[in-house]
Amino acid sequence: MTGKVVQLHTPLGDEVLDLHAGDHVELSGIVYTARDEAHKRMQNEGIPFNASGAAIYHCGPVVQDKKIIAAGPTTSARMNELSGFLLDHGVRALIGKGGMGPKVREHLKKRGVYLAFTGGCAALASSHMTLKGVFFEDLGMAEAIWVIELDHLPLVVGIDAQGNDIFDEVMKHARQQYERYRKC
């Protein structure tokens, strides 16, 4: 970690390739929320927005009167098997919590990054957000794709485009600690 906060704006380009796992960034511009059901439908019916340079936010917000009330991240690992096609279509950033599997880590290499937002911080997130539109609203509030404009949302680079992964590093260490604990 360098200590400085990197400013990013969508659509994202090759600047994401220079980020390092552990860097703090602030993201502005449009993001698209998507959870399990939205991923499944995009796989089957196509992506309803321009995916080039786009950022996907793993989130099922609370929306009322066309306003984002609460919009923290959901567990990204549920989308481990559903994210490759998005990166193939030009998506540059996946945003969520808890990290993603080795398949996604490989897929992100030289393409994009995984950005982590603090789980549960839905009120903080919504104070950085303006709702701009919606796709697949029939999937329900949690599963629809909400088009959201971000204003400097504070994030951490969880997986970078070189394959560095802070979640994986932490769990490698945790497993070693557990083995040591088991032996005593």
């Binding site: 609460a70 990290g99 603090t118 549960g120 009120a123 951490v156 932490v170 769990m171 945790a174 604990y181």
Partner: protein, 278 residues
């Protein structure tokens, strides 16, 4: 037939449930906030310090805006204490459900409750067996709401250990967090149920979460320390605090059994109790 008295109880209970849900999802209990602030001040890992800063900013922002601190406003777990002069009837369950529906519309809450097989969402956070209501006799008429999010609940586990393997209890709890990784939104609170029956241990584990978390017994502290040596940290991004507190509840069990349940709760350990004012 409903008497005017029954009707007053219904209205009062629905209203208290609504108020308890609103309080729970917007404001953390003081003991939970204190424990988070203490862990934040002691944290040495720079990424974890950033996570704690977001958590504390978020708690303040939720209170300022009067909105839920987390978008996963959970499924409704409700504990009722019934005084001797209130009869336990179906209507009490209906009144709680009415309070939950009002909370869903007005706070608002995210509609989370679905049929387990068709996955059809009822849209109002009620359904078969939801809210999950637990009733106890007492002196005061109170309702406690413990909204339970899925990330943490999905990491919970139960084991039927060998009765001679008491030493395995701590290991099972540590292993539960190792499997959970960052998914349950650590730093977590762990409710532990030891003894009783298969289902009873799980109920105890959840009830343990309602105990004040700013004090621990030496046994609870020992488990807490063992889990924290994993270094999973806030959100699984590394750090000194993986678990904020461990709370243990026990019940007598069969001489040939040792049930152990671990109910994992996220840092947003939301619960609130309201008196039902008649």
């Amino acid at each position: 037939m409903k008497t005017p008295d029954d009707s007053a109880i219904h209205t009062a209970l629905a209203d208290a449930t609504f108020r308890a849900y609103r309080e729970a999802v917007i404001r953390l209990p003081p003991d939970v906030l204190r424990v988070i602030q203490k862990a934040a001040a002691a944290e040495t890992n720079p990424v974890a310090r950033g996570e704690f800063a977001n958590i504390l900013k978020n708690v303040a922002e939720a209170e300022r805006l009067g909105v839920p601190m987390c978008q996963d406003t959970g499924v409704p777990v409700v504990y009722l204490t019934i005084p001797p002069d209130v009869s336990l009837t179906r209507d009490l369950y209906d009144a709680v459900a009415e309070g939950i529906r009002k909370a869903t519309r007005e706070i608002p809450l995210r509609p989370n409750v679905v049929d387990p097989l068709t996955r059809h969402n009822t849209g109002d956070n009620t359904g078969d067996g939801m809210p999950a209501i637990h009733v106890k006799p007492g002196t005061m008429f109170t309702v406690t709401v413990l909204p339970k999010g899925a990330g943490a609940e999905n990491s919970s586990r139960i084991a039927m250990l060998l009765p001679t393997h008491q030493y395995g209890i701590e290991g099972f709890i540590v292993e539960t967090m190792l499997h959970a990784e960052g998914k349950p939104c650590p730093p977590v609170v762990l409710g532990i149920g030891i003894g009783g029956t298969f289902d009873g241990a799980a109920a105890l584990a959840k009830e343990a979460l309602l105990e004040p978390i700013d004090t621990m017994t030496s046994y609870e502290e020992k488990i807490c320390k063992a889990v924290n040596m994993l270094g999973i940290g806030p959100m699984g991004q590394g750090g000194d605090t993986t678990v904020l507190a461990v709370k243990v509840k026990t019940a007598s069990c069969h001489t040939a059994s040792l049930p152990v349940a671990v109910n994992v709760q996220c840092w947003a350990h939301r619960h609130a109790t309201m008196e039902v004012k008649r």
